[in-house]
Symmetry: C2
Subunit: 373 residues, 2 copies
């Protein structure tokens, strides 16, 4: 296999024009309710108070490696305006609007067919829009190495994050034979192990977190989808003549809702023999829970995490305060709570009970209708 690194690809002038990026941007972020809402999910929020939303950060992050016009945003039709507002520099035809929620496999399939119609030689990085990545220089090195690998091999490549703790909320990938530096065959996928198993995984050094970041050639993923998810490709093959034409939108409006709802992991990755994992070591967090956000955020001297608010804390620690808009919070005698203020909704909930937030959202819908969702 060819794993030579093209040293020039690290500079903007040498960006490979066959490289594309698909940013998956359709999630609803209900676990961060009410800080994230159906109308403005997590990826559209400046979650870290940096002045850029998670989507904008995801976009910024790939620009050194992918030409601006090769970035494709796949999102729900509901969020079209938000995407346009947050990424005003991209063209309308770079935004693929899903008319229904169908999980990641149909999303990835559509994007692959669309990109393949633009450039049959395209290679693609697929990335979530709502994860946190630090040490971006390492990220960039990893992605460039990954592109080189998938451009030289008919492989599906997933990025595996070196685990730093026995996290029970993530999927793990067990690595097999090394096929290139830091790129290995996949032995097993394991979803959300219990704590004892997670500890064994971390200690073994053989298990990596499944990041949900993928690299492949458009042709490769379309071929693999044909083999492992023919019910998905059956839908998209009917539109082969329309991708990257004015008729694409109409076709998708009619065809997409007929797709099964299935994740790319379940549809392809866990079945294919052509899956490889690139073991990477940049900072990564899926920001999937308040506790994850707490653990990965800087604490102030009281041991609290504050998002966009000033907190005056008395005998209070271990809390996470997340506020929309400027606000002063004065708190006494509160430990290990989530305090999330969204203007018209205030949530106060122990961090240990955050798994109940989903039920709360259901209850709110039942009692108050949709206005607070």
């Amino acid at each position: 296999m060819n794993n030579t690194i093209n040293m020039d690809s690290n500079t903007p002038t040498a960006i490979n024009p066959h490289r594309f990026c698909v940013i998956m941007c359709g999630g609803i972020g209900s676990r961060f309710w009410p800080y994230s809402r159906e109308g403005r999910p997590k990826q559209f929020i400046d979650f870290l108070g940096t002045g850029r939303s998670l989507l904008q950060m995801s976009y910024d992050r790939v620009l050194p490696m992918v030409k601006k016009e090769n970035v494709i945003i796949v999102t729900n039709a509901l969020y079209a305006d938000l995407v346009r507002e947050q990424l005003p520099e991209i063209r309308p035809d770079q935004i693929l609007l899903e008319p229904a929620r169908r999980n990641t496999a149909p999303c990835i399939a559509w994007a692959a067919y669309h990109i393949h119609a633009i450039d049959p030689e395209a290679s693609i990085i697929v990335t979530p829009s709502d994860h946190l990545i630090t040490r971006e220089a390492l990220f960039q090195d990893s992605i460039l190495r990954g592109f080189e690998f998938v451009e030289s091999n008919p492989a599906l490549l997933t990025l595996g994050i070196k685990p730093t703790r026995p996290e029970t909320g993530y999927g793990y990938i067990q690595i097999g034979k090394e096929v290139a530096p830091d790129i290995d065959a996949v032995k097993t996928f394991t979803e959300k192990p219990d704590l004892d198993l997670a500890k064994v995984f971390v200690e073994s050094g053989e298990f990596f977190w499944n990041s949900g970041i993928f690299l492949w050639r458009a042709e490769t993923i379309i071929n693999q989808l044909h083999r492992y998810a023919p019910n998905v490709t059956a839908v998209f093959d009917r539109g082969l003549s329309v991708y990257n034409t004015p008729e694409e939108t109409d076709f998708i409006q009619k065809a997409f809702p007929g797709c099964v709802s299935i994740s790319i992991d379940y549809a392809v990755m866990e079945k294919s023999k052509d899956v490889y994992v690139e073991c990477v070591n940049f900072g990564w967090n899926d920001l999937g829970t308040w506790s994850a956000l707490f653990d990965n955020s800087p604490k102030n001297k009281d041991g609290n995490v504050t998002q966009r608010c000033t907190v005056l804390a008395y005998e209070s620690g271990g809390n996470i305060f997340a506020v929309k808009g400027e606000k002063l919070i004065v708190v006494d005698g509160l430990h290990d709570y989530i305090v999330a203020d969204a203007g018209d909704v205030l949530l106060i909930c122990p961090k240990s009970k955050e798994q109940g937030i989903k039920q709360m959202v259901n209850d709110v819908k039942l009692k108050c209708g949709d206005k607070y969702l």
Copy 2:
């Protein structure tokens, strides 16, 4: 003594035109920060969610006994606009604007001099603007009986509330010899007893809560002030020719700030031999603390008190939620807290630590300046 009740005085057509009401309306309500603010203290808030502020409720309450044009509002100059906005039906000259905070004796003295200049035969009820009174028919009977008493006697009459619990936050009045039905001489005043003493007080049946509601003739209180607080009357005597004239405002601007700051209780009531207490039994609460408000407010099925907000509570009770504007609060695992949301400030504090709020307000001033006060 004459304690005949004029039965006609209970109907609007028979309101005695010599009867005046002074509503003291200058407090800053810092104990309810941030729900009450320096810019809009407690008395101007619709505290009970009835659609009328405590000031408006105080005004409404005296109208059956005092002609509308005989109601005088004494407030700080800062709150002139709030008073005009909340009581648009009263004339500008019915609002006395204190240029400085000087406690109740100077406030009451000025109002007495002002009213005496309007009507030398005036009798006056003096009432706070920020207390809660229920069973208003009993209140009305008590006030009418009080007016009759002070109009027939050169007496200072204070209303004593039959205590319902050994409250340690109130002043108590011990009653002496009965001089008319439910009207007694005063034996002692006791400020804020400890709990053991408060229990003895309540059990004895001899002690009543000092309500801060007074009745007297204008002439009587001016005479008594001359005797017991000559440093106060010395200030106001210099303006005898200006009360109820266009020059009054200018005079007060210059003279009032030179007054000592002293309460009417300390200046006169605790010293005078002409003080009587009318023992009354209407519902009364000074709403002086969050806990008092909690105790006196209806609880929902979870045992929480909610002010103007919808609360969805999970394993949470004994809390008081006070919110400016419409808001949904979702709370889990919180017991016996104050949660007060004022838009730009959120306070979360155990009810048991509410005495610390004053210090918090000081800390906020120090760290953030005046904008949150």
